[in-house]
Amino acid sequence: MTSTTPTSSIVQDLPKSRGHWRNIWANFRRRRLAFVSLILISFIYLLGIFAPVIQTHDYQETNLRETQQGPSTDHWFGTDRAGRDLYTRVVWGIQTTVIITITSFVTGSLFLGVSIGLVAGYFRGWIDAVIMRVGEVISAFPDILLIILLAATLRPRITEFARDVEDSTGISGLVSSGIVDYVVIGIALLPLSWFGMMRLVRGQVLVLRDAEYVQAARAMGTSTPRILFRHILPNVVSPIIVSVSFGIGAIALSEVVLSFFGLGVQPPRPSLGVMIGEVTARGGASVSVLRDHPEQLLAPIIVVWLLIFSWNIVGDALNDVLNPRAR
């Protein structure tokens, strides 16, 4: 990606960046498909966030007298083999996706990726070298394998720890509410999220740190953190936003794959990946299910499909709007 070199206009614009963003938003809104996609994404995420309110059943409630039913007025998407309501499970599954995407993005990409990128790019030298080498080692692993390896090995330890905490402090629900799962998945997804973001930010910072206005700030004796956060970070925001919007789809998909293998969210809490894994018997029965009970497979898959598609459209549009010079 060609870097957006800070033009003097951006530097001057800093104080009135509100207008800058309003412009961008106006530009974005003109792209109809992207705008619709964004609405779609918001809608799906709202479904997930309000899952407890809009559910029609209890997600773990089995009803053995109504198994494997097709869509009906009572069960909008039908029921699974244990008679659980697919619609309810899908919206709860979305909630899982929402939580995981947000947590792993906030911790991995935004917090770790951005801060390490800033540090590496600004200080260069051995700090940069060490960070880059570590990143290269980690990124040398095949992504999904590393995620699976981490999830498989970390989960028992973290769960055990959480139980100890619960038992000794009297806090309850750490494990049963799924918080532990989110932590495990979040950590497992870290290698996927931090390095790309870090490299991006670092590249930008490498260019920016020598920009005149930064040199000027340095000459005026501005402290390093202030330079980093006040002068450099605001100019890296655009590429960060683009990268996040492309990355969210990938994160959501990784959670699906993890849960598909039984390493993600624990039952009975639903996740889109758990639903896919369960109904296809981890892949083997996928053809049969698609033929005989397509709604059971399609309900979670279409949501994943829409999410990834929409995020890509939005990412594309943001890329055009925010980095007009980068193609």
């Binding site: 498909l33 080498r133 290269e136 080692v137 990124s139 040398a140 692993f141 095949p142 992504d143 999904i144 394998l145 699976i148 390896l149 981490l150 498989a152 090995t153 028992p156 330890r157 789809g249 998909l253 699906v256 794959v257 598909f260 293998f261 896919i276 296809t280 981890r282 892949g283 996928s286 053809v287 299910v289 698609l290 033929r291 497979l297 399609l298 898959i301 994943v304 499909w305 829409l306 990834i308 598609f309 890509n312 459209i313 193609r327």
Partner: protein, 309 residues
């Protein structure tokens, strides 16, 4: 440039050593004991102990690590825990070969669909066809493999009987078609996007306009000037795609029953077959590093303006 290549190559073993250490570390940290897994649920503690000793699991990690590094330097990656008494390389090599063939087939699919389509879309910019192509490719790109794979099997194998439903028969077999499509179609979407972008960029360049002005035929301009120059950035994408494909396409291999590297390494994780896993990581990381290097160097050859630092 030579210095650069040498520097990169020198760095490789360090990277590999670190990667191997990481697997060792995870190995000791992970619950589950390879000896116990091998012995099954009936083993007495003494038998487990004897087995651990035999596998050398009781030594401290640094000892095991350096012993392993020493063996690897001699070309010995050890024996698999799961495939009793089989040397690791004997197990990994054929699997890697399978994955590579599949991914090359998929890349061919992606290129054959993606490049012409991307080029076409760019040429049709401003008409309805351009967004139609871009959007439909994005839809295909976003299609989860959990759907693509069973759908293709159901349609082309079970209903139409055109191709076998699954399995592996080598590069020149009918079996490779469906999995190659499954991996290749999303890949094609990536190529469409990049090919379209770089074509648009090239179309706007002066030399293209000059060529047109000189009265060269559309065909010549398209193929000699536009397409060729637009391909340059594609090279990078291709490199990344190939390198990324090395990990094996886990789900595809799983659903189609392809004995590739992805499944082997997944099994190795679940079976705690650390010799296989470590060797796999070493080979994978090594290949990734080499692939990146080759791409970088190739880039400088194709486009002399780029210099390696």
């Amino acid at each position: 440039m030579l210095a650069y290549i040498v520097r990169r190559l020198l760095w490789t073993p360090v990277l590999l050593a670190l990667a191997a250490f990481f697997v060792f570390f995870m190995g000791t940290f992970a619950p589950g004991d390879p000896a116990e897994l091998r012995l099954g649920n009936r083993a007495t503690p003494e038998r487990i102990e004897r087995e651990r000793e035999r596998l050398g699991l009781d030594d401290p990690i640094p000892v095991r690590y350096f012993r392993y590094v020493g063996d690897v330097l001699k070309g010995d990656f050890g024996d698999s825990y799961h495939y009793q008494g089989r040397p690791v390389l004997e197990i990994i090599a054929p699997r890697l070969w399978v994955s590579m063939q599949l991914n090359i087939a998929a890349l061919i699919v992606a290129i054959c669909i993606g490049l012409p389509l991307g080029f076409y879309a760019a040429k049709k910019q401003g008409t309805g066809r351009d967004p139609a192509i871009v959007i439909s490719m994005l839809i295909l790109y976003a299609m989860p493999v959990f759907f693509t794979a069973p759908f293709l099997i159901l349609f082309f194998a079970v209903k139409l009987h055109w191709v076998p439903a699954s399995g592996w028969g080598g590069f020149f077999s009918l079996q490779i078609i469906l999995p190659a499509l499954t991996i290749g179609i999303p890949g094609a979407a990536v190529f469409v996007r990049h090919m379209r972008a770089s074509t648009l960029e090239v179309i706007g360049q002066e030399y293209v306009r000059t060529a047109h002005a000189k009265g060269m035929s559309n065909f010549v301009v398209n193929y000699r000037h536009v397409a060729r120059n637009a391909l340059l950035p594609i090279l990078t994408i291709m490199g990344f795609t190939l390198a990324g494909m090395f990990g094996g396409s886990l789900i595809v291999e799983l659903i189609y029953g392809i004995p590739g590297a992805g499944r082997l390494s997944l099994d190795a994780i679940f079976q705690r077959d650390f010799p296989v896993l470590t060797a796999f990581v070493l080979l994978g990381a090594g290949m990734l590093v080499l692939a990146n290097l080759v791409i970088d160097v190739a880039y400088t050859i194709v486009d002399p303006r780029i210099r390696l630092q």
